[in-house]
C-alpha cells in the first residue's frame, strides 16, 4: 500500500547529506516550507547547494544556515538582503566563501522545469545582450539571439502545500505552488510539508501536482 506520509521532521529529512543540492519552494511568504528549512538547519550539514528564488526567505526562516556557513553554493534570482547593511550570505559571497549562480527568474523556472521534463537543454532569448551571457553559447532563431541553458536538477526538493493525501498528491492554496511544482519534478526526493492530510484522498479535480513527484509528506501547519 502506498503511504508517503511520515510522522516527524526527522523522518521527512532522512538521507539529506552533507554536500547535497536542495531546491526550496517559495515566493514572498507563500509556499515557504518553514518547518523543513528549520529541520535542515538543525542537521548541521556542510557544503550544501541551495536552489531558491530569493535567498532572503531562507535566511528569514532559519538564519543558522548562513550564520553557520552550511552553504557552499547558491543558485537564485535574488541574492540580496533586505537591509542596507549586507546580510551574512552577502558578506560570505563577497569574501569568496560561497559561489553564486544568479539567473533571470524565468530562466530559473524553465531550467528546473526542463530538469523534471527530461529536456537537457533549451534556448531562450532572456538575458541576451546582458552581462549574464557574456562568453556563453548563443544562437539565432528566426532572427532573434538566444542563449543555451541547461536543465537544473537537485538531490532534494522541499515544498509547502495546503493539502496532501497518502499518494503524495498535492493541493496548493493561493500562490503556494510557485516554483514548487517544477522543483518536485526535478529533484530525486521531494519532501512536502502541508497543513492537512486528506484521509479520503484528494479528488482528481483538486490535484495540482500528481503524487508521482512526491516521496514524503509531513503534516506541519503554518505558523501564523
Amino acid at each position: 500500500m502506498i503511504n508517503k506520509v511520515v510522522g516527524d521532521p526527522a523522518a521527512a529529512m532522512a538521507g539529506i547529506h552533507a554536500g547535497a543540492s536542495i531546491m526550496i519552494s517559495g515566493f514572498g511568504n507563500a509556499g515557504i516550507p518553514g518547518t523543513l528549512v528549520r529541520a535542515l538547519g538543525a542537521m548541521n550539514l556542510t557544503g550544501l547547494t541551495l536552489i531558491m528564488n530569493a535567498i532572503r526567505r531562507i535566511d528569514e526562516c532559519d538564519p543558522s544556515l548562513f550564520d553557520n556557513r552550511r552553504v557552499d553554493h547558491v543558485i537564485t534570482t535574488a541574492f540580496r538582503g533586505p537591509d542596507a547593511a549586507p546580510a551574512s550570505y552577502e558578506r560570505q559571497w563577497k569574501r569568496g566563501e560561497m559561489t553564486l549562480d544568479i539567473l533571470p527568474q524565468g530562466t530559473f523556472a524553465e531550467r528546473i522545469r526542463a530538469g523534471g521534463a527530461g529536456i537537457p537543454a533549451f534556448y531562450t532569448p532572456t538575458a541576451t545582450g546582458t552581462s549574464l551571457v557574456e562568453g556563453r553559447e548563443q544562437r539565432d532563431f528566426n532572427g532573434r539571439t538566444c542563449v543555451l541553458e541547461e536543465a537544473l536538477t537537485a538531490d532534494f526538493a522541499l515544498l509547502r502545500a495546503q493539502k496532501a493525501d497518502r499518494y503524495g498528491n498535492l493541493y496548493f492554496r493561493g500562490t503556494q505552488a510557485n516554483f514548487g511544482s517544477a522543483m518536485a519534478t526535478a529533484a530525486q526526493t521531494t519532501i512536502v510539508e502541508v497543513d492537512e492530510i486528506s484521509e479520503t484522498g484528494l479528488r482528481p479535480e483538486e490535484v495540482h501536482l500528481p503524487g508521482i513527484y512526491v516521496q514524503r509528506v509531513l503534516r506541519a501547519p503554518r505558523r501564523h
Partner: protein
C-alpha cells in the same frame, strides 16, 4: 514655478494608457501604483509573475492570506475571471509573448530602447534580477516609469546605458516626472511635457538628443492623495 509630477502622478499618467482588455504586468514601485489609477470602465487583467492573472486590490488589513501574494509579496485579492498557476507556467506566459504590456521601473533607459533596471552595482550587496529580464524580453510592449534624473541630477535617459543592461532595444515609452517620451527608431520623441518647462530645459536634463513631436502636449495630472 515648475512642479514635477509626484510618484503617484507618474503612475496615474501611465495608467491612462492601459487599454480595455489588456493583460499587463506591473513592476515593483511606481508601476504597481498604476493599478490604482486605471480608468474604471476598462477591464484590465494584471499579471503577477509568481503565478496570478487577474490580481485584484491589496487585501484589507487583517483579511489577507499569506499564501496568496503578488510579486511584491503583498497579500492580494483576485478579480473576477482570475486564474492561478505555477512559476514555470507564468514565465512561459511572459516569455511566450502573451502579455500586452509590462510597466517597469528603471535606473536608465537608452534612446535605442535599452533598459537598465536590475542592478545598481552596490559594493556591499548581492545581485537581484527577479523577473525583469523575462518581462522586458517577453512582453509585447515595455513602458518605463522613472524620474527624469537621479537625486544628484544625472540624466536617466541616455545615449548608452552605463548601468548593467536588462534587455536591449525593448522600451517603447517612458513616463518621467517631467515628460512622456516615445522611443521611435532610436529617437526619443517627446509627446508631453509639464507646464512651464522649456524644451531646452528638458533637453539639458536628458543625455540623448530629443525630438519634439509636432503634437507635443502639456503633461498634467490631477492632485492625488499619494504624496510625493
Amino acid at each position: 514655478m515648475i512642479t514635477p509630477l509626484t510618484r503617484h502622478q507618474m503612475a496615474w499618467r501611465a495608467a491612462q494608457d492601459l487599454a480595455d482588455g489588456a493583460y499587463v504586468n506591473l513592476g515593483l514601485g511606481m508601476p504597481v501604483l498604476a493599478a490604482n489609477y486605471a480608468p474604471a470602465e476598462r477591464e484590465i487583467f494584471y499579471h503577477s509573475e509568481n503565478g496570478v492573472l487577474g490580481v485584484g486590490p491589496v487585501a484589507p488589513p487583517g483579511q489577507g492570506d499569506p499564501e496568496l501574494v503578488d510579486a511584491g509579496s503583498q497579500m492580494v485579492t483576485l478579480r473576477d475571471g482570475a486564474s492561478i498557476f505555477d512559476s514555470a507556467a507564468s514565465f512561459a506566459m511572459i516569455r511566450g509573448g502573451h502579455l500586452d504590456l509590462t510597466i517597469l521601473g528603471a535606473f536608465q533607459v537608452a534612446a535605442n530602447g535599452d533598459l537598465a533596471n536590475w542592478d545598481a552595482l552596490s559594493a556591499d550587496k548581492g545581485p537581484l534580477i527577479g523577473g525583469a529580464m523575462d518581462l522586458a524580453m517577453g512582453a509585447k510592449a515595455v513602458h518605463v516609469i522613472m524620474r527624469h534624473t537621479t537625486r544628484r541630477g544625472a540624466a536617466r535617459l541616455v545615449t548608452e546605458c552605463s548601468y548593467p543592461v536588462t534587455a536591449r532595444g525593448v522600451v517603447s515609452r517612458v513616463y518621467t516626472d517631467l515628460a512622456v517620451l516615445d522611443i521611435d527608431q532610436g529617437r526619443l520623441v517627446v509627446r508631453e511635457i509639464i507646464p512651464g518647462l522649456g524644451h531646452d530645459e528638458l533637453a539639458a536634463a536628458t543625455d540623448a538628443p530629443l525630438t519634439f513631436g509636432p503634437d507635443c502636449r502639456e503633461l498634467t495630472a490631477p492632485d492625488l492623495a499619494g504624496g510625493i
